[in-house]
Symmetry: C2
Subunit: 349 residues, 2 copies
Amino acid sequence: MNMITETIAVMALVGPLAVGAADTFEWQALPEKAPEPPDNPTTTEKVELGRLLYFDPRFSATGTVSCNSCHNLMLGGDDNRAVSMGVHGKTGGRSAPTVWNAAFASSQFWDGRATSLEEQARGSVVNPVEMGMSELEQAMDRVRAIPGYKPYFVRAFGSDNPMTVDNAAKAVAAFERTMITPDSPYDRFVKGDKDALDEQQQRGMTVFAETGCTGCHSGPAFSGPIMPSGTLYLMKFPTFPTDESAEQYDLLTDQGRFAVTSKEADKHLYKVPTLRNVALTAPYFHNGSARTLDDALRMMAKLQLERDLDKGQVDDMVAFLGALTGEFPQQTMPRLPATPGWTLINSED
Amino acid sequence: MNMITETIAVMALVGPLAVGAADTFEWQALPEKAPEPPDNPTTTEKVELGRLLYFDPRFSATGTVSCNSCHNLMLGGDDNRAVSMGVHGKTGGRSAPTVWNAAFASSQFWDGRATSLEEQARGSVVNPVEMGMSELEQAMDRVRAIPGYKPYFVRAFGSDNPMTVDNAAKAVAAFERTMITPDSPYDRFVKGDKDALDEQQQRGMTVFAETGCTGCHSGPAFSGPIMPSGTLYLMKFPTFPTDESAEQYDLLTDQGRFAVTSKEADKHLYKVPTLRNVALTAPYFHNGSARTLDDALRMMAKLQLERDLDKGQVDDMVAFLGALTGEFPQQTMPRLPATPGWTLINSED
């Protein structure tokens, strides 16, 4: 929690537009740095190594799937698919969350089953429908077999047995903690630049709060309050299911966190996803069943708040959410270390 | 053919090591620029657009396969797989050639069926086991649906209907013509820096020429002489088949160019692949059946030249071929234009 949040009450900023819920809600700008766990402070050397590992597809069974395949940093940090496609074209049941600003969430995966980015990174490597490695040490054997990786691990973690699964996960997480997108029009607005949002976006901001969206989508990343790593911030979805939500959107098949805990109380509980850069991450919902942002907004209001939005309200909110698209850090394309004269990938995989 | 090749006879350079074939062979450095077709001169604007298209996976049926998926510019310009994996995990029968320095080849694909990089780019988009689009215009509809692409096309091709398949292919080809890797130790050596190759590499250079490898692997990219675009430079492989080549390496199933022309004379004819950065592109052969560079060298000598190499000769040649790894241009990671609030990818694809 070593971070500063810039918190400004909207009342002073949007003036007469702010009424009802909107004037008491704390609108927060994105901090310049993400929270870091005490046992993995972010360093340049870890970030450099983490970037290589993040883009390297050779640690998947087929050699074709890297972290970036489903969490594409050249796009909105996801793959714009309903559900992701891992090794051998396999698909699971959930939509890839964006990696941008994931560092501001206190748990990871839709059901919050990973308490940290470090843990999340490990999970995807051995998920049979994602990177498909049989075990983490098998993936790490591949990393260790690439001579050029060793100096990066030594620089990041010292020379005493640095090439471990733990350290690889720490490096990827450290890299991801730098993948944040500050300076969106919204951020500039809450910091005092009244011209950063146009009138429609300001109307949308008010509708967003008044409708009740801020009840869950609070905090600097609109994914709930910043809490200690591992703290779950889950909400039931859908709260007020309808026939449409069950049939057209198939929202009742997946039981959310219940699949992890088998506790009745965890049925249909999900992590509150960030709304940062939400315009770039269609389709929406845990199963990608809402094809457009308009559609997602309309359904969320109905299923979570029993509110029917009119077209004007939806349009205004879409405009506001578009103002949550931030500035993406310019990145150099890494060169991945080679295995000179041979390949790590088995042709039968 | 608007290019300058630096051609230096090896005799003057390697002195007493140069005997037999090696002293008469023209060792060429990689030109600083690749040849350009008259109807597609390389411009900064085309390269910028081509880079975006090259890395964008949304023009494949599943939204998961970009040019870079199989021709990975963060690696050796291929995927280190025996045969590539396209949409839905589908595989074909041939190994992805490297994109690095592909601009120096006068035809593309293993069977030379594309006469230019422009034509090659089109082929992969609609190949059912590669990007899997049903037709080029369907892929182009996706490009046209992304608002942010239009300014790039206008800047590259003018404002009069610039968003065409032809122009997209030209932009990708223009980008690929900048993906060249000069200044390898070999290049510095043939330009006069005698210390650029160590003794073993120099021995390997001589063995390479004396064994007869230069009979096909000539020219600045070791893929044959620079010839006008569309000129085929094909060789029979294997020339002297053995039981081993048929069984262990399965080299007789694929009939090479015969599959394109159905002419008896084209049976088992293939393009001569570049040896630039060959240490980075394992596995080897058109079907990826040679797992290591040692193995590929031993088999090539046997199958093409009826020569049995001893271990010392193989080791020396591997060292020499390692000296063909060049300098890779540093690249900025592109940000791909968005479809705000919706997705191009159908969930059923």
